[in-house]
Subunit: 429 residues, 2 copies
């Protein structure tokens, strides 16, 4: 008999079906036993006379197939249940389960959750995080394809530590020393110049940073885009507003079931996102919040306060900070006047979720800015050579997938929004 | 004025427009100059009186904006042309171009092509390869999502060299030694067991193989899938038939323009793909082609001959070889009898494009098979522990993206079907 998925049982009332899945719960009464079965589409209550299963050892989380008849019945899960005629154990779970995954909440600490990742992911609420994450990714992709962007895949093994500053992982590449790419920055710019004009990449990036915070991973998924023929960074910011509206709408409509399970509301984004200059933000922190320890820089507490300000002053969960100081931005960032740049960060609920801006597209200006940053142009030749051959004005941005997922779903650690996270100490599973 | 894309000019006959792009060709006559402009959507002929541009230095591959009126005109490219009123150089290409990219074919050797990748990708035919490649990827994704698969992203930094055999790249991961993943094999199996049941991943994999052939890369994109609740490997082969039909149809219909440019015909795949046992294939090679040097193994020449046989005997460009010897397959492969396995390869036009099969899903059998392969189960604990907790029968496959692109488009080297390839000697650009 063909397998029926649990979410299609409502079409099979009074019919015989076969379902397969994991034994989620067992409740044995005197004469009958209730079994809740779980497959990738949902849960269903099944009921069987004890005499029918007296020779079968049914354990929690075993994989079984069940034949039976779908009958109307009002229970917590559905308006029907399955009357078991036959049950077969396909793959028995003989070991004691290290975590309880059939409770409403997975009540274990982070290490236990991640050490038992296959099991913790079976928990409905944990699983739902990744269903939402997929909608975010698909929203990013779909919106950009509609806007004429081409998806690209660029190397993660690179010759140079691209951006300077952040620490990089070293790889022995035959006789040579290679590094794991910190971002697809150079390649996405190259692909704009290669005639694709508008490109995006959804792929891993690597940061060998020593710190082990709740919002950093050493390997994460960066949703990157780069767009040619712009006026300046404001085109990128406007694009991001539309992109985020699209993603949030998609998550709200398609992720409904999972959002309810997670008890989360997605913020509305109807108007434009407020934009203030970085220097203004520093000023606001000083005057409004008496935060004077910044010395012209931003810190996590500052980001939180600026988001508080955005909520109070504009009623917005989002705020763009613009015109970051030239000293704070990588060498490819388009300067704006003597000390500022055509760049921005987007903050959301207290945390930076995007860095973006216009890039330098003129060969000589790029060489000059590399020197301004105290770097040596000859270390970047295979990159800057591209700028000799007609590079349009362009800019772009990057959004960290795990971070935006965590912030949207009000989850306190990006490790929980990564299937298999890599951090300062975690290389397993 | 808003930029108009070249492929929308046909809706603007007798209107004034602004277009932007790269100067593809210049032909100066006595009184007028023809300029062919290229943007991401196509080419258009523009014409201007020489007096209007006498102070402007227009060079091949410079980025320009052109204002003018669209007039009807029959030329090689379109049924219209643009009468230039004003032309502005946005980003001048002052350097001598190292390769000629406005000829019908890009007539340079592979190294020159790859060393000048931004420029070679501007060539229409080169660019088209990646438009087709994107349709392949999108076909893979769309078909699987329709079939209830969930897209996953798993770590490329791993603790163990997953599969044994193939060489791995080493990474210094803080105090630890890590490796770049050769495949997402263990993780995709884990995600089946995590309740997703059906998963796929499109991501980089790494092989530190020393050989430098036309069909190998050291970093490539693997399109991987894994499916739970199967009977055996035949379910995976049937899925792949439908998947390939879907992809080929999508390429044929959506890639039409690019296929014409590349002068390529996509093979039809209407019926089932013929299936023969590996041992039969060896026998056919011996008796039909007098190939006796195989010693029970397969080699590239053998693959070519078996594809020849498939064409002659079944009229098929594809052939499945099944029941590979247990000795030749990784430890996770489900055995079939004493010496064979529930596994397969798919050959296409002389080359293997897929390896797949059923995996062992029982804890004890997996431990035994690891020992049978001469490996130590204790090196695989974080993997095999998963099999204690109810793993459904499952199997999967992997398709190399660059390789299938090359074979479909009749391209002689996978480096040409990679935006930025990594091979034995190439780490730049």
């Amino acid at each position: 008999m063909q397998r029926t998925m649990i979410n299609e049982l409502n079409k099979k009332i009074n019919k015989n079906v076969e379902i397969k899945g994991w034994v989620h719960k067992i409740r044995k009464l005197k004469a009958i036993t209730f079994i809740i079965l779980r497959d990738r589409t949902g849960l269903v209550q099944c009921v069987v006379e004890n005499s029918k299963i007296k020779d079968i050892d049914i354990k929690l989380e075993s994989v079984v197939s069940i034949n039976g008849r779908v009958g109307e019945n009002n229970n917590k899960l559905n308006s029907f249940e399955l009357n078991i005629e036959d049950i077969n154990v396909i793959s028995s779970c003989d070991e004691q389960l290290p975590i309880e995954i059939n409770k409403e909440n997975l009540d274990v600490n982070l290490d236990i959750m991640l050490n038992n990742r296959m099991l913790s992911l079976r928990h409905e609420k944990v699983n739902s995080i990744f269903k939402i994450q997929n909608i975010i990714v698909e929203g990013f992709r779909k919106f950009l394809v509609q806007e004429g962007f081409t998806e690209i895949s660029t190397p993660k093994l690179v010759e140079g530590g691209a951006e300077g500053g952040t620490e990089v992982f070293k790889v022995q590449y035959f006789e040579k020393q290679a590094y794991l790419a910190q971002s697809p920055q150079f390649y996405k710019q190259m692909m704009v110049g290669a005639g694709f004009e508008r490109v995006f990449e959804i792929g891993h990036v690597y940061r060998a940073e020593e710190h082990n915070t709740t919002r950093h991973l050493n390997e994460y998924v960066s949703m990157d885009l780069e767009m040619g023929f712009i006026e300046d960074e404001k085109d990128i910011m406007s694009l991001e507003e539309e992109l985020l509206k699209f993603i949030l709408n998609k998550v709200s409509s398609e992720g409904d079931k999972h959002l309810k399970l997670l008890d989360v509301k997605i913020p509305a984004l109807e108007n434009s996102i407020p934009r203030i200059k970085f220097s203004e933000a520093i000023e606001i922190l000083k005057t409004r919040y008496n935060k004077t320890d910044l010395d012209g820089d931003m810190d996590p507490e500052g980001e939180k306060l600026i988001c508080k300000y955005a909520k109070e002053a504009f009623g917005s969960d989002f705020i763009f900070l613009t015109h970051y100081p030239r000293k704070k931005r990588p060498m490819y960032t388009m300067p704006c006047g003597e000390n500022e740049t055509h760049s921005f960060d987007l903050l959301f609920r207290g945390v930076e979720i995007t860095t973006g801006g216009q890039r330098i597209h003129q060969y000589n200006a790029l060489r000059e800015n590399i020197k301004y940053k105290g770097l040596n142009p000859s270390n970047y030749e295979s990159y800057i050579d591209n700028f000799k051959y007609g590079m349009p004005p362009h800019g772009g941005l990057a959004i960290g997938l795990e971070r935006i997922t965590a912030l949207l779903l009000d989850i306190d650690n990006v490790r929980k929004t990564t299937l298999i996270p890599r951090d300062r100490t975690r290389l397993v599973p």
